[in-house]
Symmetry: C2
Subunit: 216 residues, 2 copies
DNA sequence: GCTAACTAACTGACCGGCTAGTTAGTAAGT
DNA sequence: ACTTACTAACTAGCCGGTCAGTTAGTTAGC
């Protein structure tokens, strides 16, 4: 037995579920739910399809597990961060959005958004769960920051929900894009100063007095 | 033969392809490519699956046809409009975005974006075509308007491509959203004054002198 | 320490259902 | 009557899910 297949045939009950989930995440994101074969998932995790069924009841259960436990820890981490920086909405919003991008949007996890968008029609219950447990919590965080900015007189008053979308959707769309069509065409990378332009733009929309806040 | 099936068994060579394409569009948008059965497409168009194969060579050919000829006419129409309003970038951009929303984003056609996002990985050539023939042309139109605004000294200078994304992605994401997760949850409708907030926000990001332009 | 009896993680051949694609036949229109 | 749009029954093969059997690892007895 060579070293490269040292894990094959080995009994490793602890590691299997997460390895299978990781393999499934990658393939679901790449191909979508229906087009992903469980044989391929198992093969990518270095086991047989039978083993997969020792840990997951069905393809749909695997899907749920992938969505649930790949994403939830991230949301937990972000909610913690908010508590730390309460008084400075501008800086908090900026750091929150950058953190979302770095830890979620720009990684494989961003693909889960594309995946849910694509499969919501076929898995309404999973979509509802995702909507509540991920999107809802993240939206609440963002809205909270925006609202506190308004209350402090730093942001202009207005529909908080709409402002949340205007602030977040460019980033979300960027992530979704990277995980779909961007892979099929000669891609121009994100412009060097994308985030400068992005933050400049949204803070002009948000701030009461953009000129004095923005340049520092 | 009842009146409701009067078209059944009737020979209507002219009408079939577009009826089949319309049926396919609706089902593809709802279920995705892989999960849509051709029997269902044919049934929805009031014919049998065999008839479908008289007009389309394969499921993938049907997919291509749906994407291609449901979307291209719209882009044509929009490109014409731009020529008419050249001198007023603010009004032109506003009307362009509203028109995109009314004729595309808020209709079934908006679902094609979600569909392409979902299936790009499985149909790279179709995605490349869509990217060039639809996204590319539409982006060029938007970038042209923004650029002319900058040249006229009305919009602030900056990365045109990034500005295009910041302006358009909220609307695009809204459309994608409506065609996926929104259908699975108790949906709050779009806020009454969504577009007021939206235009206010993006023009603050774009304009050199927002205060004097915006209120009229 | 060595082996034998035991446990359970893992395998892969198999089955059944489902659906893309085919074709022999039917009937509408002329 | 002849053409051809259309139908419906069919086939082929793929894939989710199963299970009888295999083998890695563990414990007990000597």
């Amino acid at each position: 037995m060579t070293s490269t297949e040292s894990t094959r045939h080995r009994r490793r009950k602890e590691a299997r579920p997460s390895e299978l989930a990781a393999a499934a995440l990658a393939l679901f994101v790449e191909k979508g739910f229906a087009a992903t074969r469980l044989d391929d998932v198992a093969a990518r995790a270095g086991v047989s399809k039978g083993t997969l069924y020792l840990y997951f009841d069905s393809k749909e259960a695997l899907f749920r597990a992938v969505i649930e436990d790949s994403v939830l820890p991230l949301i937990d981490a972000i909610e913690v961060k908010v508590a730390a920086l309460k008084d400075d909405p501008v800086r908090l919003l900026r750091e929150l959005l950058m953190e979302w991008w770095e830890r979620f949007g720009s990684t494989l996890l961003g693909g889960t958004c594309k995946l849910m968008i694509a499969e919501a029609g076929n898995f309404p219950e999973v979509a509802a769960f995702f909507n509540e447990a991920v999107i809802g919590r993240w939206s609440t965080v963002l809205c909270g920051v925006i609202e506190s900015g308004i209350e402090q007189g730093v942001f202009r008053p207005g529909s908080v929900e709409t402002m949340r979308q205007l602030v977040f959707y460019p980033l979300l769309m960027q992530s979704v894009w990277q995980h779909s069509i961007a892979g099929c065409v000669a891609k121009r990378p994100m412009p060097e100063n994308y985030f400068d332009t992005y933050f400049d733009f949204i803070f002009r929309g948000l701030l009461v007095a953009p000129e004095q806040e923005i340049q520092r």
